[in-house]
């Protein structure tokens, strides 16, 4: 589909919601009614259930760093100093010969040999409201359903792993809670558990009046009661109910995740919002959470782009370089896929407010970790950074690439949504081989 058509499709006001587009042939419903509930906890509703079983055993994890509003590629991964649109910042040498990045990211320049960078990203949407979900859903072909965000998709495909913690945690500034919207047609249970402002989710703390021994004792009583009830009954409901209690319990037993951070870590990651959240993200990964999204806001620099990036970039630079090195030192980088990206890049043209606007035509995405080739830079923009030269990649290609890095065969694995098989990534896209080991 060419971009023009895609744009038209996106502009149409659609009514369909996750509950829609069910294929209602009874024999198929029989399958999904069972898989819907039996799959509780993550692994139902795939056309290939055996794949799901296998993936649930995988120890691979994801750290997804979402730079909301649009990081300028020109002030970060793809600088064009001394050109028409280059802006005031210089570029600096990285640990990769011949590869230079903006001077605003000196720490990242020192770990460039660990990263894979694609400077040839071209996507469709140039508005936040449509771009943020479109990109995080992998912009699949329109089949009249709302696709899950990457985190919900991984939660569904790979389950919660061995930690029994919720599989998709979103560390962000602002409010926390249970964000079901990300899950799309997978249904609310694959939504994100959001940790807002570093605060624990509501009701996570044991009441003051209850000791840990008391808590264990009352849960033993509850489990005893559950066993008494179970005999002769359909296990489906009870198991689903027990699963959420177990997840809650696992979360409660990890209070340390929300404790005050180690001062040394704070110094390493940065004493600011993003540093704090990246640190929480690392702890979540350490605790075994399958997918962690760390969110940074405020990058929409339509005005005063250069001062904006001068203040934002160092925080990103420090937290990003710190977490990559930290994961490597802890031996976790080999099993953790790390991605840093926005919903689009920013216009090369500098507007009347000394800002840069939205630019999906030519921007950059960086990644590292499991399955990803290290020290590789692909894709190229023209001299002024306005368009991608030669081959470009769309978000669908990246979804295929990331699934491949996680050991998920995205060309064959399909969701089963009420009887309708749905590819997990755009069917016209494919993995980017140069980025994969």
């Amino acid at each position: 589909m060419n971009n023009q058509n895609k744009k038209q499709a996106s502009q149409q006001q659609r009514l369909c919601t996750p509950a829609h587009h069910v294929m209602s042939r009874r024999e198929l419903l029989g399958v999904t009614a069972a898989s819907g509930l039996l799959g509780f906890g993550g692994l139902g509703g795939l056309v290939q259930p055996l794949v799901a079983d296998e993936l649930s055993q995988s120890d691979k994890q994801v750290l997804f760093i979402w730079i909301d509003g649009g990081m300028s590629q020109l002030e970060s991964w793809d600088p064009k100093p001394n050109t028409k649109f280059g802006g005031p910042f210089r570029s600096i040498q990285t640990t990769l010969p011949g590869i230079r990045v903006s001077e605003l990211m000196p720490k990242t320049a020192q770990i460039m040999h660990l990263l894979a960078l694609d400077r040839g990203v071209t996507t469709v949407d140039n508005s936040h409201s449509a771009g943020v979900p479109r990109i995080q859903r992998g912009d699949p072909k329109d089949r009249g359903v709302i696709y899950p965000y990457f985190g919900s998709a991984v939660a569904k495909l790979m389950g919660q792993g061995k930690s029994s913690l919720p599989p998709y945690i979103w560390v962000k500034p602002g409010s926390g809670g249970f964000k079901y919207q990300d899950a799309g047609f997978l249904g609310p249970r694959y939504g994100a558990l959001a940790i807002g402002d570093g605060q624990a989710p509501p009701n996570l703390l044991l009441p003051d009046t209850l000791s840990h021994d008391d808590n264990s004792a009352r849960n033993r009583l509850r489990n005893f009661a559950n066993q008494q009830y179970a005999a002769g009954r359909n296990p489906t409901f009870s198991e689903a109910q027990s699963f959420v209690f177990d997840s809650a319990d696992a979360l409660m037993s990890r209070q340390a995740l929300f404790a005050d951070p180690d001062p040394a870590d704070v110094q390493l990651y940065g004493d600011n919002e993003l540093g704090r959240d990246m640190l929480i993200g690392r702890k979540m990964l350490e605790a075994g959470v399958r997918f962690v999204k760390v969110n940074s806001y405020g990058w929409d620099t339509h005005g005063d782009n250069f001062n904006g990036h001068a203040s934002l970039m160092p925080r990103f630079d420090q937290a990003f370089a710190a977490v990559v090195l930290d994961l490597q030192e802890r031996g976790m980088l080999d099993k953790t896929l790390v991605i840093a990206m926005s919903e689009f890049g920013r216009t090369p043209r500098i507007n009347g407010h000394v800002g840069r606007d939205h630019w999906p035509e030519a921007w950059s995405i960086a990644m590292t970790g499991t399955g990803i080739r290290r020290g590789v830079v692909i894709g190229e923009t023209n001299k002024t950074g306005t368009f991608v030269e030669n081959e470009s990649h769309d978000i669908g290609d990246f979804f295929h690439t990331w699934f491949a890095a996680l050991g998920v065969n995205s060309l064959e694995t399909e969701y089963l949504n009420n009887g309708q098989p749905l590819p997990i990534a755009h069917d016209d896209c494919k993995p980017i081989k140069e980025l994969l080991t």
């Binding site: 009514l15 249970f178 209850l210 009352r218 559950n226 409901f237 959420v244 997840s247 809650a248």
Partner: protein
């Protein structure tokens, strides 16, 4: 256009023609349902539910809460042969019945979009006076605004016309919901083209329904939710995304006759002229909503007949005869078509009397069966599909709230406040409305997601495990159940009373022993009893309607 309209009309007439077998005159609906269930299977049936299980189930379904201990002893102790029927009849007259029904229908119709005091009053009053389903729907579409009891009914429409987020006014969503909730057809996917999988869901049907609501708006001159209509001057134009040809349609029910949009000159376009003084909008001479209200909810509309019986069946039996509930069409036939058509026909014959329908369903053996299938165990899903065993259901957030308050003996702490909207507060709530906010935040589905599937969540578990509110109910004090139980010195009696209070049944010997041991081993008796109350509140048996 004529071609299109004709073909659709014909298809619809054939598709949904009711072929109800005519029952023997003396046979009541509930007996016929049981006969049809028994005829359709050779499998083994579960026993009838025990008095305890039946009592809890019927209380949850008709009063919205578990029975009080005295209800348990009275019912089980009664030796009347007809005690189940007598109980059903008593609870259908219980003062909690309108509350329970208003909660059930509010969730079904509003799908957690929010609430409004006038709407709530309308629903409660409707079930108090046993307003029939056709009248209920008619009133929702076109309330008599002079009648105080009907004023809130417009909320169904106004709430859906409110903007949320950055979305434009969702007229298509409103049209779709009228199809889904009142006729059991989800035409949303036929908005832009004929439905891709479902032959009889035509774009012209969606657009015909859409034409009824495109000219509606929220009135700003009333103190309660109300709808006004702009003048419809010409038929609606539409086009399939797959074709070039333009079509037009006036308002039309799926399968029905298209209304011709008349041409009026400016002088005559209003039946009641707008009043600039009071800012009341006029009533157009051509009034699509009036037509919708007088033709949709009638026995002449087979889709209307069938929709609610299937929905009520699903809410009492755990799944619809047609499932999903808004997917009535040829490729998705009912599991038990004769039951469905018989129920629909009789419901219409009884003038859409909802109370009658509930009574008939609850009198069936199918409803009164046990949720335990002794053997063979592996067969339980098949047994459920054949209604040979009672299918477990989730408690709604409202049922759970009333039941938790009842079990903990804390109901009287919260005065009922029908007026005023409450918002979640950080301090402990003081009214039942505020308590309900907590339960909805912890257990309800997100807005616009039908609550038809069992979807427990971590947030609900954390609420039960750790919230200050739940602790304030189970911890000793304020004359709650824990305090009452503390007054009993004999441990066996404590456990007996605990089980009757929370689980509405006596403990088994194993349970008695286990819980008694816990009491003996615990150094602090008030804490021990609080934990026992909590454990039974949080166990599956309590959280499920079985």
């Amino acid at each position: 256009m004529t071609r299109l309209r004709l073909s659709c009309g014909i298809i619809f007439i054939f598709v949904i023609a009711l072929c109800a077998p005519s029952p023997a005159r003396s046979e009541e609906l509930h007996s016929a349902i049981d006969r049809l269930i028994e005829d359709s299977t050779d499998g083994i049936f579960a026993e009838q539910a025990t008095d305890f299980e039946f009592l809890r189930r019927i209380f949850l379904d008709l009063t919205g809460e578990i029975p009080a201990p005295s209800d348990v002893t009275d019912f089980v102790g009664s030796s009347s042969v007809n005690k189940r029927t007598e109980l059903i009849d008593r609870l259908l007259k219980d003062e909690r019945y309108p509350r329970r029904m208003s909660e059930l229908f509010n969730v079904m119709l509003m799908e957690r979009r929010g609430t409004d005091p006038a709407w709530k009053r309308f629903l409660v009053d409707s079930f108090k006076t046993n307003r029939h389903w056709d009248s209920l729907v008619k009133t929702i579409i076109q309330p008599d605004l002079a009648n105080e009891n009907e004023q809130g009914a417009g909320y169904f429409l106004t709430k859906r016309l409110e903007k949320y987020g950055q979305n434009p006014t969702d007229f298509p969503g409103l049209a779709s919901d009228i199809g889904r909730l009142f006729m059991g057809v989800d035409l949303a996917c036929a908005q832009c083209h004929d439905h891709l999988f479902i032959d009889e869901y035509r774009q012209s049907d969606f657009q015909g329904l859409y034409a009824f609501v495109t000219n509606t708006f929220i009135r700003t001159d009333t103190q309660f939710p109300a709808i006004g209509q702009k003048v419809m001057k010409k038929p609606l134009e539409f086009q399939s995304v797959f074709e070039e040809e333009m079509f037009t349609t006036g308002p039309r029910l799926p399968g029905g006759v298209e209304l011709e949009v008349p041409e009026y000159d400016n002088k005559n376009e209003f039946a009641v002229a707008p009043d600039p003084q009071s800012k009341a909008p006029g009533v157009p001479a051509f009034n699509p909503l009036h037509y919708l209200a007088s033709t949709l909810p009638t026995s002449k509309n087979p889709r209307f007949q069938i929709n609610l019986v299937n929905r009520i069946w699903a809410s009492m039996m755990g799944t619809g005869l047609v499932w999903p509930l808004d997917q009535h069409h040829n490729d998705n036939p009912a599991t038990h078509p004769k039951i469905l058509s018989l129920m629909a026909a009789e419901f219409a014959q009884h003038d859409f009397d909802i109370k009658w329908l509930f009574r008939q369903l609850m009198l069936t053996k199918a409803y009164q069966r046990s949720s335990i299938l002794l053997s063979p165990l592996g067969d339980i899903q098949k047994a459920e599909a054949e209604y040979r065993v009672f299918r477990e259901r989730a408690l709604s957030p409202e049922q759970l709230m009333w039941s938790v308050l009842k079990a903990t003996g804390t109901e009287s702490r919260y005065p009922i406040e029908l007026e005023g909207d409450s918002k979640l507060e950080t301090t402990l709530p003081t009214t039942i409305e505020q308590v309900a906010e907590h339960f909805i935040a912890s257990f309800a589905n997100p807005p616009r997601e039908p609550e038809v599937e069992f979807a427990p969540s971590v947030r609900g578990s954390l609420f039960l495990l750790n919230s200050e509110l739940v602790q304030s109910w189970v911890n000793n004090g304020g004359d709650n159940s824990t305090e009452q139980l503390l007054k009993i010195s004999d441990n066996t009696e404590v456990i007996d009373s605990l089980y009757i209070t929370v689980l509405s049944r006596p403990p088994t010997p194993v349970e008695l022993n286990n819980m008694r041991e816990f009491l003996l081993s615990h150094p602090n008796r008030p804490d021990a009893i609080a934990q026992l109350v909590w454990a039974l509140l949080s166990c599956n048996e309590f959280l499920i309607n079985h």
